[in-house]
Amino acid sequence: MIVKDAVCPFCGCLCDDIEVEVEEGRVVAVTNACELGTTKFMGEKRMKNPILRDGDRWKDITYDEAVRYAADVLLEAERPLLYGWSGTHGEAQCVGVHMAELIRGVIDNTSSVCHGPSILAIQEVGHPGCTLGVVKNRADLVIYWGSNPIDAHPRHLSRYTRYAEGFFLENAFRDRKVIVIDVRKTETANIADEFVQIRPGGDYAVLSALRAIVQGKADTIPRTVAGVTREQLVRVANLCMNAKFGAVYFGLGLTMTQGKYKNIRNAIELVSELSRHTKFTISAMRGHYNVYGSNEVNTWMTGYPFGIDFSRGIAFYNPGETTAVDILARKECDAALIVGSDPAAHFPRKCLEHLADIPVVQLDPYPNATTAFCNVQIPVAVTGIDAEGTAYRMDGVPIRTRKVLSTDYLSDEEVLARMYARMQEVLEQ
Protein backbone atom coordinates (compact mmCIF):
# COMPACT_ATOMS: atom_id res chain seq x y z
CA MET A 1 0.00 0.00 0.00
CA ILE A 2 1.21 3.51 -0.78
CA VAL A 3 0.11 6.42 1.40
CA LYS A 4 0.27 9.73 -0.44
CA ASP A 5 0.65 13.18 1.03
CA ALA A 6 1.82 11.80 4.34
CA VAL A 7 3.15 14.33 6.81
CA CYS A 8 6.73 14.04 8.00
CA PRO A 9 7.01 14.12 11.79
CA PHE A 10 10.63 15.18 12.00
CA CYS A 11 11.37 18.90 11.75
CA GLY A 12 9.38 22.11 11.80
CA CYS A 13 9.05 22.10 7.99
CA LEU A 14 6.33 19.50 8.45
CA CYS A 15 6.56 18.47 4.77
CA ASP A 16 3.21 17.02 3.77
CA ASP A 17 4.06 15.60 0.36
CA ILE A 18 5.65 12.35 1.50
CA GLU A 19 4.82 9.02 -0.11
CA VAL A 20 5.14 6.10 2.21
CA GLU A 21 5.04 2.51 1.03
CA VAL A 22 3.83 0.04 3.60
CA GLU A 23 4.04 -3.73 3.37
CA GLU A 24 3.02 -6.21 6.04
CA GLY A 25 2.82 -3.59 8.76
CA ARG A 26 6.22 -2.11 8.00
CA VAL A 27 7.34 0.97 6.14
CA VAL A 28 9.44 -0.29 3.25
CA ALA A 29 10.00 2.84 1.19
CA VAL A 30 9.74 6.59 1.59
CA THR A 31 9.67 9.07 -1.30
CA ASN A 32 10.14 12.85 -1.22
CA ALA A 33 11.35 12.99 2.38
CA CYS A 34 14.87 14.11 3.30
CA GLU A 35 17.31 11.76 4.95
CA LEU A 36 16.09 12.76 8.40
CA GLY A 37 12.47 12.12 7.61
CA THR A 38 13.15 8.90 5.76
CA THR A 39 15.05 7.47 8.70
CA LYS A 40 12.26 8.41 11.06
CA PHE A 41 9.61 6.74 8.89
CA MET A 42 11.78 3.63 8.59
CA GLY A 43 12.49 3.57 12.34
CA GLU A 44 12.73 0.17 13.99
CA LYS A 45 13.64 -1.05 17.48
CA ARG A 46 10.52 0.09 19.28
CA MET A 47 10.17 -0.73 22.93
CA LYS A 48 7.72 -3.63 23.09
CA ASN A 49 5.90 -3.07 26.36
CA PRO A 50 5.98 -0.83 29.43
CA ILE A 51 8.94 -1.33 31.71
CA LEU A 52 9.54 -0.64 35.39
CA ARG A 53 12.88 -0.15 37.03
CA ASP A 54 13.20 -2.63 39.86
CA GLY A 55 16.48 -1.95 41.65
CA ASP A 56 19.22 -2.77 39.18
CA ARG A 57 17.07 -4.40 36.58
CA TRP A 58 14.13 -3.75 34.30
CA LYS A 59 10.83 -5.54 34.63
CA ASP A 60 8.07 -5.76 32.02
CA ILE A 61 4.71 -4.53 33.27
CA THR A 62 1.25 -4.08 31.77
CA TYR A 63 -0.14 -0.80 30.51
CA ASP A 64 -2.61 -0.71 33.38
CA GLU A 65 0.16 -1.11 35.92
CA ALA A 66 2.24 1.51 34.20
CA VAL A 67 -0.60 4.02 34.02
CA ARG A 68 -1.46 3.51 37.66
CA TYR A 69 2.16 3.87 38.73
CA ALA A 70 2.61 7.01 36.68
CA ALA A 71 -0.56 8.66 37.91
CA ASP A 72 0.15 7.91 41.55
CA VAL A 73 3.74 9.09 41.47
CA LEU A 74 2.77 12.38 39.85
CA LEU A 75 -0.11 12.93 42.24
CA GLU A 76 2.12 12.48 45.25
CA ALA A 77 4.59 15.08 44.06
CA GLU A 78 4.72 18.57 45.50
CA ARG A 79 6.14 20.00 42.31
CA PRO A 80 5.97 17.61 39.38
CA LEU A 81 7.58 18.63 36.10
CA LEU A 82 5.77 17.69 32.88
CA TYR A 83 8.29 18.17 30.13
CA GLY A 84 8.75 17.52 26.42
CA TRP A 85 5.63 17.65 24.24
CA SER A 86 7.20 18.73 20.95
CA GLY A 87 7.33 15.21 19.61
CA THR A 88 3.65 14.49 19.99
CA HIS A 89 0.36 15.67 18.54
CA GLY A 90 -1.73 18.56 19.80
CA GLU A 91 -4.50 16.40 21.20
CA ALA A 92 -1.99 14.77 23.57
CA GLN A 93 -0.56 18.15 24.49
CA CYS A 94 -4.05 19.29 25.50
CA VAL A 95 -4.39 16.38 27.91
CA GLY A 96 -0.96 17.30 29.26
CA VAL A 97 -2.08 20.83 30.05
CA HIS A 98 -5.22 19.61 31.79
CA MET A 99 -3.05 17.23 33.76
CA ALA A 100 -0.63 19.94 34.85
CA GLU A 101 -3.59 22.03 35.96
CA LEU A 102 -5.11 19.14 37.87
CA ILE A 103 -2.00 18.02 39.74
CA ARG A 104 -0.60 21.54 40.02
CA GLY A 105 2.67 20.89 38.30
CA VAL A 106 4.99 22.74 35.98
CA ILE A 107 4.53 22.13 32.28
CA ASP A 108 7.32 23.04 29.90
CA ASN A 109 8.17 22.07 26.36
CA THR A 110 11.38 21.76 24.42
CA SER A 111 11.17 25.33 23.20
CA SER A 112 12.80 26.37 26.45
CA VAL A 113 16.06 24.91 25.07
CA CYS A 114 15.30 25.77 21.45
CA HIS A 115 13.35 28.89 20.49
CA GLY A 116 12.18 29.88 23.97
CA PRO A 117 14.44 32.92 23.71
CA SER A 118 12.70 33.80 20.44
CA ILE A 119 9.39 33.75 22.24
CA LEU A 120 10.74 35.99 25.00
CA ALA A 121 11.85 38.42 22.31
CA ILE A 122 8.48 38.31 20.55
CA GLN A 123 6.86 39.08 23.88
CA GLU A 124 8.92 42.25 24.04
CA VAL A 125 8.60 43.54 20.48
CA GLY A 126 6.17 41.37 18.53
CA HIS A 127 6.79 39.41 15.38
CA PRO A 128 6.41 40.48 11.74
CA GLY A 129 6.13 37.11 10.05
CA CYS A 130 4.28 35.17 7.36
CA THR A 131 3.59 31.67 6.17
CA LEU A 132 6.27 29.85 4.20
CA GLY A 133 4.33 30.15 0.97
CA VAL A 134 4.47 33.94 1.07
CA VAL A 135 8.26 33.74 1.04
CA LYS A 136 8.27 31.06 -1.63
CA ASN A 137 6.09 33.11 -3.95
CA ARG A 138 7.51 36.57 -3.34
CA ALA A 139 10.86 36.79 -1.59
CA ASP A 140 13.75 38.06 -3.69
CA LEU A 141 16.02 38.11 -0.66
CA VAL A 142 16.36 35.42 1.98
CA ILE A 143 18.69 35.67 4.96
CA TYR A 144 19.62 32.64 7.05
CA TRP A 145 21.01 33.95 10.31
CA GLY A 146 22.54 31.49 12.75
CA SER A 147 20.68 28.69 11.06
CA ASN A 148 21.94 25.86 8.94
CA PRO A 149 19.03 24.36 7.02
CA ILE A 150 21.16 21.91 5.05
CA ASP A 151 21.75 20.04 8.28
CA ALA A 152 18.70 20.85 10.36
CA HIS A 153 15.85 21.52 7.89
CA PRO A 154 17.10 19.94 4.67
CA ARG A 155 14.07 20.68 2.48
CA HIS A 156 13.62 24.29 3.58
CA LEU A 157 15.80 25.46 0.71
CA SER A 158 14.06 23.43 -1.96
CA ARG A 159 10.50 23.90 -0.81
CA TYR A 160 10.52 27.54 0.20
CA THR A 161 13.66 29.47 -0.71
CA ARG A 162 16.83 28.87 -2.75
CA TYR A 163 15.54 26.17 -5.09
CA ALA A 164 11.79 26.83 -4.91
CA GLU A 165 9.87 28.38 -7.77
CA GLY A 166 7.69 31.33 -6.92
CA PHE A 167 4.65 32.98 -8.45
CA PHE A 168 6.18 36.43 -8.63
CA LEU A 169 9.70 35.38 -9.57
CA GLU A 170 10.43 34.75 -13.22
CA ASN A 171 13.52 32.72 -12.54
CA ALA A 172 13.55 32.06 -8.84
CA PHE A 173 17.07 30.64 -8.64
CA ARG A 174 18.52 33.63 -10.43
CA ASP A 175 16.27 36.36 -9.06
CA ARG A 176 16.37 35.34 -5.42
CA LYS A 177 19.46 36.31 -3.42
CA VAL A 178 20.48 34.31 -0.37
CA ILE A 179 22.61 35.74 2.44
CA VAL A 180 24.00 33.49 5.16
CA ILE A 181 25.19 35.03 8.43
CA ASP A 182 26.92 32.71 10.85
CA VAL A 183 30.00 32.17 12.98
CA ARG A 184 30.81 29.01 11.01
CA LYS A 185 31.11 28.60 7.29
CA THR A 186 28.46 25.91 7.15
CA GLU A 187 27.29 23.91 4.16
CA THR A 188 24.48 26.42 3.81
CA ALA A 189 27.01 29.22 3.58
CA ASN A 190 28.39 27.53 0.48
CA ILE A 191 25.19 28.02 -1.48
CA ALA A 192 24.78 31.66 -0.45
CA ASP A 193 25.30 34.69 -2.68
CA GLU A 194 26.83 36.49 0.28
CA PHE A 195 28.32 35.06 3.45
CA VAL A 196 28.83 37.22 6.52
CA GLN A 197 31.07 35.64 9.10
CA ILE A 198 30.66 36.99 12.61
CA ARG A 199 32.94 36.46 15.56
CA PRO A 200 31.27 34.25 18.16
CA GLY A 201 29.16 36.36 20.48
CA GLY A 202 28.97 39.24 18.02
CA ASP A 203 25.48 38.80 16.57
CA TYR A 204 23.92 41.45 18.76
CA ALA A 205 26.48 44.07 17.85
CA VAL A 206 26.11 43.33 14.14
CA LEU A 207 22.32 43.58 14.36
CA SER A 208 22.54 46.92 16.18
CA ALA A 209 24.96 48.20 13.56
CA LEU A 210 22.63 47.16 10.74
CA ARG A 211 19.71 48.92 12.40
CA ALA A 212 21.73 52.10 12.64
CA ILE A 213 22.85 51.81 9.01
CA VAL A 214 19.27 51.34 7.82
CA GLN A 215 18.46 54.57 9.67
CA GLY A 216 21.22 56.30 7.69
CA LYS A 217 23.78 56.43 10.47
CA ALA A 218 26.52 54.34 8.87
CA ASP A 219 29.13 57.00 9.60
CA THR A 220 28.91 56.39 13.35
CA ILE A 221 29.70 52.68 13.05
CA PRO A 222 33.26 51.48 13.79
CA ARG A 223 35.27 50.10 10.85
CA THR A 224 34.68 46.55 11.91
CA VAL A 225 31.96 45.09 14.08
CA ALA A 226 32.56 41.61 15.49
CA GLY A 227 34.80 40.72 12.59
CA VAL A 228 32.56 42.19 9.89
CA THR A 229 33.70 45.22 7.97
CA ARG A 230 31.55 48.30 7.79
CA GLU A 231 31.62 48.02 3.98
CA GLN A 232 30.05 44.59 4.14
CA LEU A 233 27.45 45.73 6.64
CA VAL A 234 26.49 48.63 4.39
CA ARG A 235 26.30 46.28 1.41
CA VAL A 236 24.02 43.90 3.32
CA ALA A 237 21.83 46.77 4.51
CA ASN A 238 21.50 47.99 0.93
CA LEU A 239 20.61 44.53 -0.33
CA CYS A 240 17.88 44.45 2.30
CA MET A 241 16.49 47.89 1.56
CA ASN A 242 16.52 47.28 -2.18
CA ALA A 243 14.73 43.96 -1.95
CA LYS A 244 11.06 43.85 -2.89
CA PHE A 245 10.40 41.21 -0.28
CA GLY A 246 12.98 40.11 2.27
CA ALA A 247 12.72 37.22 4.67
CA VAL A 248 14.97 36.40 7.61
CA TYR A 249 15.10 32.85 8.95
CA PHE A 250 17.04 32.57 12.16
CA GLY A 251 18.11 29.58 14.19
CA LEU A 252 19.77 28.51 17.36
CA GLY A 253 22.88 30.46 16.42
CA LEU A 254 20.98 33.43 17.76
CA THR A 255 18.96 31.86 20.57
CA MET A 256 21.78 29.95 22.24
CA THR A 257 24.55 32.54 22.22
CA GLN A 258 25.29 35.45 24.55
CA GLY A 259 22.34 37.69 25.10
CA LYS A 260 19.97 34.88 24.04
CA TYR A 261 16.60 36.53 23.50
CA LYS A 262 18.11 39.98 23.15
CA ASN A 263 19.69 38.80 19.90
CA ILE A 264 16.28 37.88 18.56
CA ARG A 265 14.75 41.08 19.81
CA ASN A 266 17.42 42.97 17.93
CA ALA A 267 16.79 40.95 14.77
CA ILE A 268 13.05 41.61 15.01
CA GLU A 269 13.67 45.31 15.52
CA LEU A 270 15.90 45.28 12.46
CA VAL A 271 13.06 43.76 10.46
CA SER A 272 10.57 46.30 11.85
CA GLU A 273 13.00 49.02 10.81
CA LEU A 274 13.31 47.54 7.32
CA SER A 275 9.52 47.38 7.10
CA ARG A 276 9.54 51.16 6.90
CA HIS A 277 11.44 50.83 3.63
CA THR A 278 10.19 47.65 2.03
CA LYS A 279 8.46 44.41 2.85
CA PHE A 280 10.38 42.31 5.36
CA THR A 281 9.51 39.35 7.53
CA ILE A 282 11.32 37.22 10.08
CA SER A 283 10.69 33.69 11.26
CA ALA A 284 12.23 31.13 13.55
CA MET A 285 13.47 27.82 12.16
CA ARG A 286 11.54 25.69 14.62
CA GLY A 287 13.13 22.32 15.33
CA HIS A 288 10.73 19.55 16.32
CA TYR A 289 7.84 18.95 13.95
CA ASN A 290 5.31 20.03 16.55
CA VAL A 291 7.19 22.26 18.93
CA TYR A 292 5.19 25.18 17.61
CA GLY A 293 2.03 23.23 18.30
CA SER A 294 2.98 22.79 21.93
CA ASN A 295 3.42 26.57 22.16
CA GLU A 296 0.03 27.10 20.51
CA VAL A 297 -1.80 24.61 22.71
CA ASN A 298 -0.22 25.92 25.89
CA THR A 299 -1.05 29.46 24.87
CA TRP A 300 -4.74 29.03 24.21
CA MET A 301 -5.18 26.87 27.32
CA THR A 302 -2.94 28.66 29.84
CA GLY A 303 -2.07 32.00 28.25
CA TYR A 304 1.64 31.21 28.00
CA PRO A 305 3.64 29.32 25.39
CA PHE A 306 5.99 27.34 27.67
CA GLY A 307 7.34 27.20 31.21
CA ILE A 308 4.00 27.34 33.04
CA ASP A 309 3.88 26.68 36.75
CA PHE A 310 0.51 25.63 38.16
CA SER A 311 1.82 25.03 41.71
CA ARG A 312 -0.41 27.75 43.03
CA GLY A 313 -3.41 26.79 40.91
CA ILE A 314 -3.18 29.80 38.65
CA ALA A 315 -0.74 29.85 35.76
CA PHE A 316 2.60 31.49 36.49
CA TYR A 317 5.16 32.06 33.78
CA ASN A 318 8.75 33.03 34.18
CA PRO A 319 11.27 31.36 31.88
CA GLY A 320 14.56 31.10 33.72
CA GLU A 321 12.61 30.03 36.79
CA THR A 322 9.76 27.87 35.50
CA THR A 323 11.70 26.18 32.69
CA ALA A 324 12.93 22.61 32.75
CA VAL A 325 16.70 23.08 32.78
CA ASP A 326 16.51 25.59 35.62
CA ILE A 327 14.10 23.49 37.65
CA LEU A 328 16.16 20.33 37.27
CA ALA A 329 19.51 21.99 37.84
CA ARG A 330 18.16 23.68 40.96
CA LYS A 331 16.49 20.43 42.06
CA GLU A 332 13.14 22.21 42.33
CA CYS A 333 10.91 19.33 41.26
CA ASP A 334 10.24 16.01 42.91
CA ALA A 335 8.86 13.93 40.02
CA ALA A 336 8.94 14.19 36.25
CA LEU A 337 6.80 13.11 33.32
CA ILE A 338 8.61 13.16 30.00
CA VAL A 339 6.61 13.02 26.76
CA GLY A 340 7.91 13.32 23.22
CA SER A 341 11.50 14.37 23.89
CA ASP A 342 14.75 13.06 25.33
CA PRO A 343 16.11 15.43 27.96
CA ALA A 344 18.89 13.07 29.01
CA ALA A 345 20.47 13.49 25.59
CA HIS A 346 19.87 17.22 25.36
CA PHE A 347 20.17 18.66 28.87
CA PRO A 348 23.37 19.50 30.75
CA ARG A 349 24.58 16.79 33.11
CA LYS A 350 23.53 18.57 36.26
CA CYS A 351 19.91 18.20 35.19
CA LEU A 352 20.38 14.47 34.72
CA GLU A 353 21.80 14.10 38.20
CA HIS A 354 18.49 15.33 39.55
CA LEU A 355 16.49 13.12 37.20
CA ALA A 356 18.39 10.20 38.73
CA ASP A 357 17.16 11.23 42.17
CA ILE A 358 13.41 11.59 41.52
CA PRO A 359 10.69 9.37 40.08
CA VAL A 360 10.58 9.70 36.30
CA VAL A 361 7.89 8.44 33.93
CA GLN A 362 8.45 8.60 30.19
CA LEU A 363 6.15 8.10 27.21
CA ASP A 364 8.27 7.29 24.19
CA PRO A 365 8.19 4.72 21.42
CA TYR A 366 11.90 3.99 21.67
CA PRO A 367 14.48 3.30 24.33
CA ASN A 368 16.43 6.55 24.51
CA ALA A 369 18.95 8.24 26.77
CA THR A 370 16.22 9.25 29.24
CA THR A 371 15.15 5.63 29.59
CA ALA A 372 18.13 5.14 31.89
CA PHE A 373 16.61 7.59 34.37
CA CYS A 374 13.06 6.26 34.21
CA ASN A 375 11.16 4.44 36.86
CA VAL A 376 8.58 3.62 34.22
CA GLN A 377 8.61 3.97 30.47
CA ILE A 378 5.46 3.44 28.45
CA PRO A 379 5.94 2.81 24.71
CA VAL A 380 3.48 4.64 22.50
CA ALA A 381 2.65 4.92 18.84
CA VAL A 382 4.62 7.41 16.75
CA THR A 383 2.52 10.38 15.65
CA GLY A 384 2.60 10.54 11.88
CA ILE A 385 3.35 6.83 11.56
CA ASP A 386 0.97 4.75 13.65
CA ALA A 387 -0.99 7.59 15.25
CA GLU A 388 -2.56 10.71 13.78
CA GLY A 389 -3.19 14.12 15.18
CA THR A 390 -2.60 17.83 14.75
CA ALA A 391 0.81 19.42 14.33
CA TYR A 392 1.73 23.07 13.73
CA ARG A 393 4.35 23.87 11.14
CA MET A 394 7.12 26.35 11.97
CA ASP A 395 5.00 29.15 10.47
CA GLY A 396 1.86 28.30 12.44
CA VAL A 397 0.03 26.36 9.73
CA PRO A 398 -1.76 23.43 11.36
CA ILE A 399 -1.69 20.14 9.50
CA ARG A 400 -3.22 16.84 10.49
CA THR A 401 -0.56 14.15 10.41
CA ARG A 402 -1.60 10.86 8.87
CA LYS A 403 -1.50 7.38 10.21
CA VAL A 404 0.39 5.31 7.64
CA LEU A 405 0.22 1.98 9.40
CA SER A 406 -1.69 0.29 12.19
CA THR A 407 -0.06 -1.17 15.25
CA ASP A 408 -1.29 -2.15 18.69
CA TYR A 409 0.47 0.75 20.38
CA LEU A 410 -1.67 3.33 22.13
CA SER A 411 -1.14 6.94 21.16
CA ASP A 412 0.29 9.48 23.58
CA GLU A 413 -3.17 10.96 23.86
CA GLU A 414 -4.70 7.64 24.85
CA VAL A 415 -2.09 6.86 27.49
CA LEU A 416 -2.26 10.37 28.92
CA ALA A 417 -6.05 10.25 28.98
CA ARG A 418 -5.89 7.06 30.99
CA MET A 419 -3.45 8.61 33.43
CA TYR A 420 -5.63 11.68 33.69
CA ALA A 421 -8.73 9.61 34.36
CA ARG A 422 -6.89 7.71 37.07
CA MET A 423 -5.77 10.98 38.66
CA GLN A 424 -9.30 12.36 38.66
CA GLU A 425 -10.54 9.15 40.19
CA VAL A 426 -7.98 9.30 43.01
CA LEU A 427 -8.63 12.98 43.67
CA GLU A 428 -12.37 12.44 43.87
CA GLN A 429 -11.96 9.81 46.56
Binding site: V113, G253, D326, D342, A344, A345, P348, E353, T371, F373
Partner: protein, 129 residues
Protein backbone atom coordinates in the same frame (compact mmCIF):
# COMPACT_ATOMS: atom_id res chain seq x y z
CA UNK B 1 44.66 24.24 24.74
CA UNK B 2 41.57 26.36 25.33
CA UNK B 3 38.77 26.42 22.80
CA UNK B 4 35.29 27.82 22.42
CA UNK B 5 32.90 24.91 22.02
CA UNK B 6 29.80 25.34 19.88
CA UNK B 7 27.16 22.67 19.60
CA UNK B 8 24.58 22.22 16.87
CA UNK B 9 22.57 19.99 14.61
CA UNK B 10 24.07 17.83 11.89
CA UNK B 11 22.38 15.57 9.40
CA UNK B 12 24.00 12.52 10.96
CA UNK B 13 22.88 13.55 14.40
CA UNK B 14 19.36 13.95 13.07
CA UNK B 15 19.42 10.63 11.25
CA UNK B 16 20.50 8.75 14.34
CA UNK B 17 18.62 10.77 16.94
CA UNK B 18 15.64 8.43 17.03
CA UNK B 19 17.96 5.52 17.80
CA UNK B 20 20.04 6.74 20.67
CA UNK B 21 21.26 3.36 21.69
CA UNK B 22 23.01 2.89 18.36
CA UNK B 23 26.74 3.01 17.79
CA UNK B 24 26.16 5.50 14.97
CA UNK B 25 24.50 7.99 17.30
CA UNK B 26 27.33 7.61 19.82
CA UNK B 27 29.93 8.03 17.08
CA UNK B 28 28.31 11.17 15.69
CA UNK B 29 27.64 12.92 18.98
CA UNK B 30 31.08 12.11 20.39
CA UNK B 31 32.85 13.77 17.48
CA UNK B 32 34.72 16.95 18.18
CA UNK B 33 35.12 18.84 14.90
CA UNK B 34 38.25 20.98 14.88
CA UNK B 35 40.35 23.12 12.59
CA UNK B 36 43.18 21.12 11.11
CA UNK B 37 45.82 23.55 12.33
CA UNK B 38 44.57 23.22 15.90
CA UNK B 39 44.75 19.46 15.52
CA UNK B 40 48.31 19.71 14.26
CA UNK B 41 49.18 21.87 17.23
CA UNK B 42 47.85 19.21 19.58
CA UNK B 43 49.48 16.44 17.56
CA UNK B 44 46.18 14.88 16.66
CA UNK B 45 45.26 12.72 13.69
CA UNK B 46 41.71 12.25 12.50
CA UNK B 47 39.71 10.03 14.87
CA UNK B 48 42.28 10.35 17.67
CA UNK B 49 40.67 10.61 21.07
CA UNK B 50 40.68 13.82 23.09
CA UNK B 51 39.72 14.71 26.60
CA UNK B 52 37.42 17.75 26.61
CA UNK B 53 37.11 19.49 29.95
CA UNK B 54 34.47 22.10 30.65
CA UNK B 55 33.35 24.06 33.67
CA UNK B 56 31.52 21.11 35.13
CA UNK B 57 33.21 17.97 33.99
CA UNK B 58 35.13 16.16 31.33
CA UNK B 59 34.35 13.73 28.56
CA UNK B 60 36.34 11.82 25.98
CA UNK B 61 35.54 12.40 22.30
CA UNK B 62 37.11 11.78 18.94
CA UNK B 63 38.68 14.63 17.04
CA UNK B 64 37.84 15.18 13.37
CA UNK B 65 39.05 17.89 11.04
CA UNK B 66 36.41 20.15 9.55
CA UNK B 67 36.73 23.05 7.13
CA UNK B 68 33.62 24.63 8.70
CA UNK B 69 35.31 25.26 12.03
CA UNK B 70 37.39 28.34 12.77
CA UNK B 71 40.68 28.09 14.62
CA UNK B 72 40.19 28.31 18.35
CA UNK B 73 36.69 26.88 18.18
CA UNK B 74 35.38 23.33 18.11
CA UNK B 75 31.99 22.06 17.01
CA UNK B 76 30.24 19.12 18.65
CA UNK B 77 26.85 17.79 17.45
CA UNK B 78 24.06 18.06 20.04
CA UNK B 79 23.93 15.09 22.31
CA UNK B 80 24.96 13.48 25.54
CA UNK B 81 28.72 13.97 25.08
CA UNK B 82 28.64 17.72 24.73
CA UNK B 83 26.05 17.93 27.46
CA UNK B 84 28.32 16.03 29.79
CA UNK B 85 30.41 19.17 30.10
CA UNK B 86 27.92 21.97 29.42
CA UNK B 87 27.04 23.97 32.52
CA UNK B 88 23.39 24.10 33.43
CA UNK B 89 23.21 27.82 34.16
CA UNK B 90 20.83 29.63 31.83
CA UNK B 91 21.41 33.24 32.88
CA UNK B 92 17.80 32.96 33.98
CA UNK B 93 16.48 32.63 30.45
CA UNK B 94 15.78 28.89 30.46
CA UNK B 95 18.46 28.31 27.83
CA UNK B 96 21.94 27.02 28.72
CA UNK B 97 25.00 28.43 26.94
CA UNK B 98 24.98 25.64 24.35
CA UNK B 99 26.92 27.65 21.83
CA UNK B 100 29.52 29.43 23.87
CA UNK B 101 31.41 27.19 26.21
CA UNK B 102 35.08 27.48 27.08
CA UNK B 103 36.73 24.06 27.10
CA UNK B 104 40.23 22.62 27.49
CA UNK B 105 41.22 19.96 24.99
CA UNK B 106 44.12 17.54 25.32
CA UNK B 107 45.03 14.26 23.65
CA UNK B 108 44.25 11.12 25.59
CA UNK B 109 44.55 7.35 25.23
CA UNK B 110 41.12 6.73 26.72
CA UNK B 111 38.23 5.66 24.49
CA UNK B 112 34.91 7.55 24.41
CA UNK B 113 32.31 5.97 26.62
CA UNK B 114 29.09 4.58 25.23
CA UNK B 115 25.94 6.64 25.71
CA UNK B 116 24.57 4.29 28.32
CA UNK B 117 27.83 4.41 30.23
CA UNK B 118 27.57 8.17 30.43
CA UNK B 119 24.03 7.80 31.72
CA UNK B 120 25.08 5.23 34.29
CA UNK B 121 27.86 7.52 35.49
CA UNK B 122 25.16 10.02 36.38
CA UNK B 123 22.99 7.54 38.24
CA UNK B 124 20.92 6.04 35.43
CA UNK B 125 20.40 2.39 34.54
CA UNK B 126 20.93 1.32 30.95
CA UNK B 127 17.99 -0.48 29.36
CA UNK B 128 19.12 -2.49 26.33
CA UNK B 129 22.84 -2.01 26.30
Amino acid sequence: MTFLMLTGRTVNQGVTVENKTSAEYAAETSTCFMHEFDMMELGLDDRDTVRVTGACGEVVMRAAASPEVEMGTVFVPYGPYANHIVAAGTRSTGMPDFKSHKVEIEPTDEEPKLVHELMEDLGGLAYDR
